[in-house]
Symmetry: C2
Subunit: 229 residues, 2 copies
Amino acid sequence: MSSERIIQVERDILGKNDRLAADNRARFQADEVLAFNLVSSPGAGKTSLLVRAVSGLKDSFPIGVIEGDQQTSNDAERIRATGVAAIQVNTGKGCHLDAAMVGQAYDRLPWLNGGLLFIENVGNLVCPAAFDLGEACKIVVFSTTEGEDKPLKYPDMFAASSLMLINKIDLAPVLDFDLARTVEYARRVNPGIEVMTVSARTGEGFPALYAWIRRRWAKAKQAEMAAQG
Amino acid sequence: MSSERIIQVERDILGKNDRLAADNRARFQADEVLAFNLVSSPGAGKTSLLVRAVSGLKDSFPIGVIEGDQQTSNDAERIRATGVAAIQVNTGKGCHLDAAMVGQAYDRLPWLNGGLLFIENVGNLVCPAAFDLGEACKIVVFSTTEGEDKPLKYPDMFAASSLMLINKIDLAPVLDFDLARTVEYARRVNPGIEVMTVSARTGEGFPALYAWIRRRWAKAKQAEMAAQG
């Protein structure tokens, strides 16, 4: 097959996804739901982080979670154990969630009016960067065990994300982890990226993360009221 | 675009890759080169592991390395610092190496007659599983920091690999890492997978890895002599 034909097929797939993502975004706005798309390598700790975050936020907001994985429903079960609604999407051979999967999973969640939707993507620092799901923003979860150079090696994902959450910060002292260098590399590919350090194991940094989420929520609310005049 | 058309395009891409992988495999056999395809999540430690392994093996074998990354040539430079030849392949938006890239990079390496070729794939536990590069076998590098459940969540990669190298074993005591459970999960998706533990940082486990490589090399040599009658 010619490379021109492959590029055309890729464009068709992404174009269709973008249309469905716009539908999702319109639904989230109509429901006043703020949606975050969490992306990372496998094992960066997205689920542990979400388990802690939804536990800390569930008394303040209606919350729903969409969990993406090639196989297993382990992650949705871990979220549900906190009392928060979660839908598992298995992508099979697929390497990312797409907007159609998220739209269908959202149908199966309870109404989250005025609340938060966390979408945990398949663990993959490459492919999910190209697929808009209708989220307000992407959050890239990055673990101290992965090495400082990853923002340079996988630049698309760091360029596409609004916030870099550096997880497993409790392990930094036993690793040769250089926080300043990681932040410098991330800002080289995305000068505007915000950065926070957390530990899903110890809870370090979570109050600041909650404050960040509340600010995003208040800002979205304000924008919406301004739009309504 | 219909899902039937997408599936047909995927089949075309994989079919073309398989033909080029067969060409690579024939070339490696003609050159008596044993090729390994190293796959893992970003940050599992493939490059650190290779830097140590090629240093330990370079006096016994001609060695070449092909390094895949979306961006940067950091990894090839790290390999070259050991005195071993390395070619960097940047995949750009791409999430895996393909057989065409490997064939072209192999042209640029010195003749490795009777030696070893290590191909370090893009860090991604999903997409590289489907792309044969012409290697003798895939080695999945898995880090103790990633969590025991990954073989169940990303089963294709563990099913496609002959050896699971559990890296960062020096960190196991500070993590809640359960080695037995990881091995059990990996063998649930691939009963025949071999398992070794290593630390690219401390060198723990490398003598056993070298012995494994020498056994594979001797076996390939034997098979070839048998084929020649």
